[in-house]
C-alpha cells in the first residue's frame, strides 16, 4: 500500500491564462456540510485542484479542558460535535472511569447504549435529509429532519434537553427512564421505519439519484488504510470492520446485529450502507428496550467532584459513531485537572485528506453530493 496523498498543485494551473477559475465553496454555501470551505480550482465544470479550509468552528476545547476540573469538562464535551453530542459524553466518561477505576452499574450501561443508538438514528436521519438535499430533493430533507425531531422529543423526555443532553456523566447516567418511555419509543420507531420505507422508494429506487450517485467518489480499497477511512465509508468499500463488533463496549456483546457492508464504495453504496444501518439502529433499540433491566442503580457515587484527583495515566477509548471511529485520548497527571485530552473525530481525515483526493476530476455539480456522502461534521475536525 504505497498510496500517498498527491500534494503537488497541478502544474498547468495558470490562473492568469483565463482557462481556470478559482471559487470558494463555502463557508456561506448551502451545499457544504456545516461551516467549512473548499477552495476549488475549476477548468470548465471539472475540478482540477482542491484545498479544504477548516477552523471556522475552532473553540480551543482541548485547551479549555486543561484548565477545568473533571466535572466541569463534562458540560463542555457535548458541545464538540454538535449533531452527535452523546458520543462525546460517553467517551469522556468512559475514559475518566477507565483512569479512575470506576465500575459502571449494569442499568447505566444499557441506558448509555440506548442513548447512543437513538443518537445514531437521529444523526443518520439528519444526514439522509442532507444527502438527498444535496442532490436536489428537498422533499425528503423535510421528511427526515421532522422525524429526527420525534427522536429529539424522546431525548427531551429521557434527558431533559433536545440537543446537548449532558446525560452520560462519569459514573453512570443522570436519570433512569421515565414511566411509559418504552411505549413512546416503540411508537417513534414505528414511524421512523415507515419513513425509511418511503425513503427507499423515493431516493434509493430513484433513477435520477442512481444516475448521479453511482460511481461518484469511489474510495478504492487500498485507500482505506492509507487514509485512515473508518465507519460506513470503510464498510461500503467491503471491509467488515465495526468497533461495536471488533472491540465491544457497553452491552453490544449481548445484542444481535451484523456488520453491514457493500462493495461499490461510491456515494450510492455509502447511502445504502447508512440506510441499512438505520434499520439496524431501529432493531437494536427494540432489542434493548426488550432486554433492559428495569430497576437497579444507574449511577455509581463518584468522589467529591470539587477535589477529584485521578492518578496519573493515559488511555484511549473509542466507539463507533455514525461516521466511524470516534476516540478520546486522555492523559492525567495526578492533579485535579486533566493533562491532555485529544478528540479523534473521523471527519478529520474524511473531510480533508480523503475529500481533497476524491474531488479531483469531479464535476462542480457533484461536490455537494460527494461531500455529504462522506458524512463529515466540521466541529469535530477543529474542536
Amino acid at each position: 500500500m504505497n498510496l500517498t496523498h498527491d500534494f503537488s498543485p497541478t502544474p498547468e494551473v495558470d490562473l492568469a491564462s483565463g482557462k481556470y477559475v478559482k471559487i470558494w465553496h463555502g463557508p456561506q454555501h448551502p451545499g457544504i456540510t456545516g461551516n467549512m470551505s473548499l477552495e476549488l480550482t475549476l477548468c470548465g465544470d471539472e475540478i482540477v485542484n482542491c484545498k479544504t479550509h477548516v477552523g471556522y468552528l475552532h473553540r480551543g476545547f482541548e485547551k479549555l479542558m486543561e484548565r477545568r476540573t473533571y466535572i466541569q469538562n463534562f458540560p463542555l464535551v457535548c458541545r464538540i460535535a454538535v449533531p452527535e453530542p452523546t458520543f462525546n459524553e460517553y467517551l469522556y466518561s468512559a475514559g475518566i472511569e477507565d483512569l479512575a477505576g470506576i465500575e459502571v452499574p449494569e442499568l447505566a450501561k444499557w441506558l448509555r447504549c440506548l442513548n447512543l443508538e437513538l443518537m445514531r438514528l437521529g444523526s443518520f436521519l439528519m444526514w439522509l435529509g442532507g444527502a438527498s438535499g444535496a442532490f436536489g430533493m428537498s422533499t425528503v430533507y423535510q421528511w427526515t429532519v421532522t422525524h429526527r425531531d420525534y427522536i429529539l422529543d424522546l431525548f427531551e423526555e429521557m434527558t431533559g434537553a433536545r440537543i446537548y443532553h449532558m446525560y452520560i456523566s462519569p459514573g453512570g447516567v443522570r436519570a433512569p427512564l421515565p414511566d411509559g418511555f418504552k411505549d413512546r419509543c416503540l411508537m417513534v420507531m414505528k414511524k421512523v421505519e415507515k419513513l425509511l420505507y418511503e425513503v427507499e422508494t423515493t431516493v434509493l429506487n430513484n433513477a435520477v439519484f442512481k444516475k448521479r450517485a453511482i460511481g461518484l467518489g469511489v474510495i478504492s480499497s487500498d485507500m482505506v488504510d492509507a487514509y485512515g477511512v473508518t465507519g460506513p465509508n470503510q464498510r461500503a468499500a467491503g471491509y467488515a470492520r465495526d468497533t461495536r463488533k471488533d472491540s465491544p463496549y457497553l452491552v453490544y456483546e449481548q445484542l444481535d446485529f451484523d456488520v453491514i457492508t457493500a462493495t461499490g464504495s461510491d456515494a450510492f453504496d455509502r447511502t445504502i450502507v447508512r440506510y441499512q444501518e438505520m434499520h439496524q439502529c431501529v432493531s437494536l433499540i427494540r432489542q434493548m428496550l426488550d432486554r433492559m433491566p428495569t430497576d437497579g442503580a444507574f449511577h455509581t457515587p463518584t468522589p467529591n467532584v470539587l477535589h477529584w484527583k485521578i492518578p496519573a495515566g493515559e488511555t484511549y477509548v473509542k466507539a463507533e459513531c455514525t461516521r466511524g471511529e470516534y476516540g478520546y485520548y486522555i492523559e492525567t497527571d495526578g492533579s485535579e485537572y486533566v493533562r491532555r485530552v485529544h478528540i479523534r473525530g473521523p471527519s478529520y481525515t474524511h473531510a480533508i485528506a480523503v475529500m481533497e483526493k476524491l474531488v479531483i476530476g469531479a464535476n462542480i455539480a457533484d461536490v455537494a453530493g460527494l461531500m455529504v456522502s462522506l458524512h463529515t461534521y466540521p466541529p469535530e475536525i477543529e474542536r
Binding site: A134, G136, T139, V208, R212, N363, I364
Partner: protein
C-alpha cells in the same frame, strides 16, 4: 388608431391579470409543495409581500450598465411573450396582439429574456452566475429541440402559425384538442415543459446546493423585484401558450385557471419527487427520447394523420 389604443390598454390589463394570477399560482404551487413535504407553507399573499419588500429595499449596488439592463431585458422577454398570446379565445379584450405568425415571435421571446439575463448576470462578475448561465443556456438549447419539433408538428397539423387559429381549430369538442389529435407532439412538448419550468430534475441553472443560486446570485433590491415580476408573468404566459397549443385554449377565466393550474401541477409533482440532473445528463436526456418523440410526432402528422 382607436383600435390600437384600446388594444394597448387591453394588453396592460392582461399583463396585470397575468401578473396577479402568476403570483397567486406561484404561492399556490409553493403551498402544494409544502403539503407534499408535510408543512403548511407560505400564506397565499406572500409573493406580493416579497415583491414589495425587494422593491422597498433602500440600498442597491450596481455592477454596471449591462447589470442594470439584465432584469429589464428579462422583463421585456416576459412581456413580449405575453404580448402575442391570446389569453382567452374569442374575447377581444384578451386576444392581445395575436396575428399570423405570432407563434414564431413567441418562441423568439422565450429565448430573448434568457439572453438578456445572461448579459446582465455576466457583468455581475460572480462565478456562480456565469456558471448558472452556461448551465441554463445549455439546458435551454436542449429542451428547445423537442419543443420546437412539437411546434413544427402543430404547424403542419393546423397549417397555420397563428395561435388564435390553432386554438380555433381545437374548439368544438374535447376530441379536437391537440392532446388527442396529435398525442406524440404533446408528450414531447410536456417533457420540454418540465425543463422550461426549472423544477427538479431540471433545475441545474439555479441549483441551490451546487451554485447558489446561479444567474440571479448578485441581483437584489428592485432588480430582483423586476425578476420576480417577470417570473410570474413568464410562468403565466408559458402556461397559457401550452394551454392554447395543446389543450384547446380557454373560453373563460375559470377554464383558464383550471387548465393552467393542471398543466403546472405536472411540473410540480415531478419536481417534488426527483433529484436534480447534472447539466450534461439533462442535455443528454432531452436530446434522447423526447427528441425522438418530437421527430415521430412530425412524421406521424406528415404521413399518417392526413
Amino acid at each position: 388608431m382607436d383600435i390600437w389604443i384600446s388594444k394597448i390598454g387591453y394588453y396592460f390589463l392582461n399583463v396585470g391579470i397575468v401578473l396577479v394570477y402568476g403570483l397567486l399560482l406561484g404561492a399556490f404551487i409553493a403551498k402544494t409543495m409544502a403539503r407534499v413535504q408535510g408543512r403548511i407553507g407560505i400564506p397565499i399573499y406572500q409573493p406580493f409581500i416579497d415583491i414589495l419588500k425587494t422593491f422597498t429595499k433602500r440600498q442597491a449596488i450596481s455592477h454596471g450598465i449591462m447589470f442594470n439592463l439584465g432584469p429589464a431585458f428579462r422583463l421585456a422577454g416576459g412581456l413580449g411573450t405575453l404580448a402575442f398570446i391570446p389569453v382567452i379565445y374569442g374575447n377581444e379584450m384578451f386576444s392581445n396582439f395575436s396575428a399570423a405568425g405570432d407563434l414564431l415571435l413567441v418562441m423568439y421571446f422565450i429565448f430573448f429574456g434568457q439572453l438578456g439575463m445572461a448579459l446582465g448576470s455576466g457583468e455581475s462578475g460572480h462565478p456562480y452566475a456565469a456558471m448558472g448561465i452556461g448551465r441554463g443556456l445549455a439546458q435551454m438549447t436542449a429542451y428547445e429541440v423537442p419543443f420546437t419539433l412539437a411546434v413544427v408538428a402543430i404547424f403542419i397539423q393546423y397549417d397555420t402559425s397563428s395561435i388564435t387559429e390553432i386554438v380555433a381549430a381545437q374548439q368544438g369538442s374535447i376530441w379536437n384538442w391537440t392532446l388527442f389529435t396529435n398525442p406524440l407532439a404533446v408528450i414531447a412538448a410536456m417533457i420540454a415543459f418540465l425543463g422550461m419550468a426549472a423544477y427538479p430534475p431540471f433545475d441545474v441553472a439555479m441549483a441551490p446546493n451546487e451554485i447558489p443560486i446561479g444567474p440571479p446570485t448578485e441581483f437584489h433590491s428592485h432588480f430582483l423585484s423586476m425578476m420576480q415580476m417577470n417570473r410570474a408573468i413568464f410562468a403565466g404566459a408559458k402556461l397559457i401558450l401550452f394551454m392554447n397549443l395543446f389543450f384547446g385554449g380557454a373560453t373563460g377565466l375559470i377554464e383558464l385557471v383550471f387548465k393552467t393550474w393542471a398543466i403546472y401541477m405536472v411540473a410540480i409533482l415531478v419536481g417534488a419527487a426527483f433529484p436534480r440532473f447534472r447539466t450534461e445528463q439533462a442535455v443528454r436526456f432531452f436530446l434522447g427520447v423526447p427528441m425522438l418523440i418530437g421527430i415521430a410526432s412530425v412524421l406521424y402528422i406528415q404521413y399518417w394523420a392526413q
